[in-house]
């Protein structure tokens, strides 16, 4: 879906902007591949986030100008990036010590499904001929202090992605803290999905109908 297409709710950029609003200055953040990467573009003026990429860089900056491009300075999505002043390089065991040891404040990930328990499925459809590939997702959700998900509310065929129980293989159990969709911001609490905020112009009932488990008002 192009960002320009008419749609109900926030655009992808607006979703990313909404996530960025919630991240305190000084946070150490890991942004997953894809939509989560957009978050970095919308950090409000005056806030500094420090980006971690699990392939060994803290203090990651934006894409390089062509003349500064280096095929060996890349992010976890294997795109070329830069290192900001105050950056540090380290090896993979140290990088995942940061993740597993609870040193990162936040990671923002995409999702196939999120259950009301906070279970996350985002690595495999479980189809028999799929090439399984997990990367660092299971380590991130197991170790990072807060896990935010940014995702369309439903699949392309209209199925809810916020569900009672995930049917896809899990990435982690009870790991998601908050979900940002084009329709709403929703927390995972001990009671399940709890609405934090509706996209302006979107009705609660509209979101509830498209959510595969009870959606509570706060």
């Amino acid at each position: 879906m192009s960002d320009d297409a008419p749609q109900i709710g926030w655009s992808r950029d607006e979703m990313a902007r909404r996530v960025a609003l919630d991240i305190p200055s000084g946070s150490y953040v890991n942004l997953g591949i894809g939509i989560p990467e957009l978050v970095a573009k919308f950090v409000p003026e005056g806030r500094t986030l420090i980006y971690h990429t699990e392939n060994g860089l803290l203090g990651m900056g934006p894409s390089p100008k062509p003349e500064a491009a280096d095929p060996e300075l890349i992010n976890a999505g294997k795109r070329q990036v830069t290192a900001l002043p105050g950056a540090a390089y380290f090896h993979h065991a140290d990088s995942f010590a940061m993740i597993r040891g609870g040193h990162l404040d936040l990671c923002v990930l995409g999702a196939m499904q999120v259950a009301r328990s906070g279970d996350l499925a985002n690595w495999s459809t479980g189809e028999p001929d799929a090439i399984p590939a997990v990367g660092g997702a299971m380590d991130l959700v197991a170790g990072v202090k807060s896990v935010y998900v940014i995702t369309q509310h439903c699949t392309k065929t209209g199925e809810p992605k916020l569900v009672d129980r995930c049917t896809y293989p899990l990435t982690g159990r009870s790991v998601v803290n908050r979900v940002y969709t084009e329709l709403a911001v929703i927390d995972i609490t001990s009671k399940g999905f709890e609405l934090v905020e509706l996209c302006p112009g979107v009705e609660f009932e509209y979101v509830r109908e498209r959510t595969g488990a009870p959606l509570l008002r706060r």
Partner: protein
């Protein structure tokens, strides 16, 4: 006089035997020791177990080693990449075995191998299909999986510079798995752009101390995988 230099990539990999377990550094193309991998293809060793984060792209480097059907098993976290068709094809045809490991667990298992830690507990993958068949245990009310070390016969690694004692420094995010693979392999082979004399690298900035390194090979102008792929290169 300690001098770990060897003449070139062919000499460096000359004793990698059929059935060897080989760790190969790199995350995507960053840190991929292409020249050493190509020498290993030339060497012809078969039935290898390869431990590497990815499975290469295009038809050079790691993907070329796979395409030549020299690899019986891959232990990795992410066998799909842009321009990666070789592994998926072999895997679907049942020509290569895959052990899929979460990336942080892969790194820690390698580090454990190098550090003499036979097993450890990790929270990653608890409750997921990758926990199947694994022992789990609760510490302080939280569940963890038991994971075993990984060790290898050989490691192929790309550094920026090394001295003749084998002290290595790396280049940016090409560091990734290099330092821990050097620790976990019986024979660690490092290709670098320049080999220098002892004392030329400040002891404060050495990343991989020489004790972990067995062979150093100078490859002055290493190729980048993405450039080779863009040019449609194949190997051999």
């Amino acid at each position: 006089m300690i001098d770990k230099r060897v003449q070139g990539p062919s000499e460096a990999v000359a004793d990698i035997h059929d059935g060897a377990t080989v760790m190969i550094g790199g995350f995507g193309e960053a840190g991929s020791p292409i020249e050493l991998i190509h020498a290993l293809i030339d060497r012809g060793s078969k039935g290898l177990t390869v431990i590497s984060n990815n499975t290469g792209s295009g038809q050079v480097g790691l993907a070329a080693l796979l395409k030549a059907e020299r690899v019986a098993k891959v232990i990795c976290s992410f066998p799909r990449t842009a321009n990666s068709t070789v592994f998926p094809d072999l895997y679907r045809r049942g020509k290569v075995e895959l052990e899929l490991v979460p990336q942080g667990t892969l790194a820690e298992r390698i580090r454990a191998g190098g550090a003499g830690i036979p097993a450890f507990y990790t929270p990653a993958a608890v409750g997921t299909p990758l926990a199947e068949g694994k022992e789990s245990r609760t510490f302080d009310g939280k569940e963890y999986l038991l994971e075993r070390w990984l060790r290898a016969d050989f490691a192929l690694i790309k550094g920026r510079s090394a001295d003749t004692h084998g002290n290595v420094v790396y280049h940016k995010t090409a560091r990734n798995f290099g330092p821990i693979m050097a620790m976990a392999a019986r024979v660690a082979i490092v290709q670098v752009r320049s080999v220098v004399q002892p004392g030329a690298i400040d002891p404060e900035v050495v990343v991989t101390p020489g004790i972990f390194v067995d062979r150093v090979v100078e490859v002055r102008e290493p190729r980048h995988e993405s450039e080779l792929v863009a040019a449609g290169a194949t190997y051999p």
